[in-house]
Symmetry: C2
Subunit: 328 residues, 2 copies
């Protein structure tokens, strides 16, 4: 019998263990064009918090009492689809469970880039692509720009720092606590600010005394406000995530939003799925950076399906360095 995490209740504010339930799941027979997959790695992502709410968004909400979903890498154990054979490693969306039956059209064999399988959930997956397209396309960051990245020790943030350095930008990263700050420094960031040390605005002003050209926002709230305060003329903000707000009912309070006018700031929200047709560019560049060592991937790994809610809740307590994963 397969097992899957189900959504037991919709949290208001920070989710708790009571919102999740691990239950047996009877899988259907594998039909024509389908695969049965034994999962090896489960992706753990902040955006999943949004799917726990019953609101329309770019991905549909999880349904109460139903199994949850997410990115996963697994091994095909039974195939009734052309081009797939037992033993193949595939990327698919049947996560939060140990086994899944999925349509072969919703599964992709891992590209042959000489990478480890779990990297396709992180640096070579939507995480890395989010960093890549967000920085280079949405924020139009160029060599020489001063780039501020929040949550720079996180999965997306740590990729942004490294891509920015590979492209010869000056990078200021924020993170919480000395270990994470040290990690961000080890990625090549020129300046690191610890937001736990005091108001981020003051720290950022000291780290980027001439202001910033680009802000890659993973946090929102006071980080966004500090970026508005210190933006140079024609600064570009890529709005990728606002983890500070996912569990809060409170509005975002911005003292410096009026600077958008005088400094001609551009802010743009984005979803990485919109860049799907351009994944070839991303694989080419990121594959080269990984091979040359210009970009390294870092993961925080929890062991076993039972740990999935812990790993997920850990994201909001800042427990991960780099990509958060569960290994089965």
């Amino acid at each position: 019998m397969a097992r899957a995490w189900h959504l037991k209740s919709r949290p208001s504010g920070m989710p708790t263990h009571d919102d999740f339930e691990l239950k047996e799941l009877s899988l259907p027979q594998v039909g024509d064009g389908q695969l049965r997959i034994r999962n090896r790695w489960l992706s753990v992502d902040p955006y999943m918090r949004g799917r726990m709410n019953d609101v329309k968004s770019y991905v549909p909400p999880f349904q109460l009492g139903e199994p949850m979903e997410g990115g996963a890498v697994g091994e095909v154990v039974e195939s009734k689809a052309e081009g797939f054979a037992p033993g193949d490693l595939v990327l698919h969306m049947g996560g939060w469970r140990d086994e899944a039956v999925v349509s072969a059209r919703a599964a992709n064999k891992l590209p042959d880039l000489g990478a480890q399988p779990q990297q396709f959930l992180g640096i070579l997956g939507t995480t890395g692509a989010t960093a890549y397209f967000g920085l280079l396309d949405v924020a139009e960051a160029k060599p020489g720009d001063v780039v501020f990245v929040s949550a720079a020790a996180g999965a997306v943030g740590s990729a942004v720092v490294q891509i920015a350095k590979a492209k010869e930008m000056t990078v200021v990263g924020s993170a919480g606590g000395p270990d994470k700050c040290e990690f961000v420094r080890s990625l090549g960031a020129d300046q690191v600010v610890d937001y736990r040390d005091g108001p981020i605005l003051k720290r950022l002003a000291a780290a980027a005394p001439d202001g910033i050209d680009v802000y890659f926002d993973n946090v929102g709230g006071d980080h966004l406000d500090a970026a508005l305060a210190l933006a140079r003329n024609n600064a570009r903000f890529a709005i990728c995530g606002m983890i500070d707000s996912y569990n809060k009912g409170e509005p975002t309070s911005l003292r410096f939003i009026m600077r958008m006018i005088a400094a001609r700031i551009r802010m743009r929200g984005f979803i990485v799925f919109d860049f799907q047709p351009r994944m070839g560019e991303f694989y080419r560049d990121m594959g080269q950076w990984l091979a040359s060592g210009a970009v390294k991937s870092r993961e925080t790994v929890a062991e076993g399906l039972d740990t999935m809610p812990d790993a997920f809740l850990g994201l909001f307590k800042g427990e991960n360095i780099g990509k958060m994963l569960v290994r089965l």
Copy 2:
């Protein structure tokens, strides 16, 4: 003796009459390359509030004890500059006074568009150009778009409404009180919401049940938040002004800023001066729209230099319909 309004004290919050002082001004002799101008019309603009603060911005602050400045149309009464003769009407920045001596390089003869002189401070001046470039370039508004314009009875807003209709967009305008709403309706707006009737979000949701593609922001605050709440995918916001915040010390509170991500919203602040090299396009289109009657200009006129602070303070009480001017 000329007379000019001087900045007596820097207001915190809403300015009062005590912040202004009308004093005599001894003008210099007209030197080579200079003009003496008798002003006919003075421009009264919300952005002038920013110049009363001692902060760096896109225009330098007014200096304490010094004469204030602003757009003006006047008649040349003495010229020591080639190409200018007594009787010429010119546009220049020596406003807030009855007479000025300025460099001819800082004065422009009014283009021959068959328009009234004061229109070059409004619909054919930076006011109209702000509406034109903000809507069509910054917000990339296209025929068929649903456009929300705040302060739609104001100088810039009323121009945006008419340009949007001339370009076959659907327009929702907000204004305060029945007279202004009636005026906005008379400009061709498809829907008008009176923000004095209750929360703007609820009103806007009723007026634009399928959401908005473009928001032209003159107000900030709750109007901006409502636009974020109701933005369709790929909506574009031109951030032109935030009159709601100019006199408040409070931060802007946004409940819906996180929608930027899921809806891929683009927000861009702008300053019309950046479009100076493209004024030819604007004169061509706006000249045609005025000639054909597709765009009409509306002015609120105060009489005499003494009324200048009243006219200015009136902007923040919503006393103007269309462009606020002082006639001398």
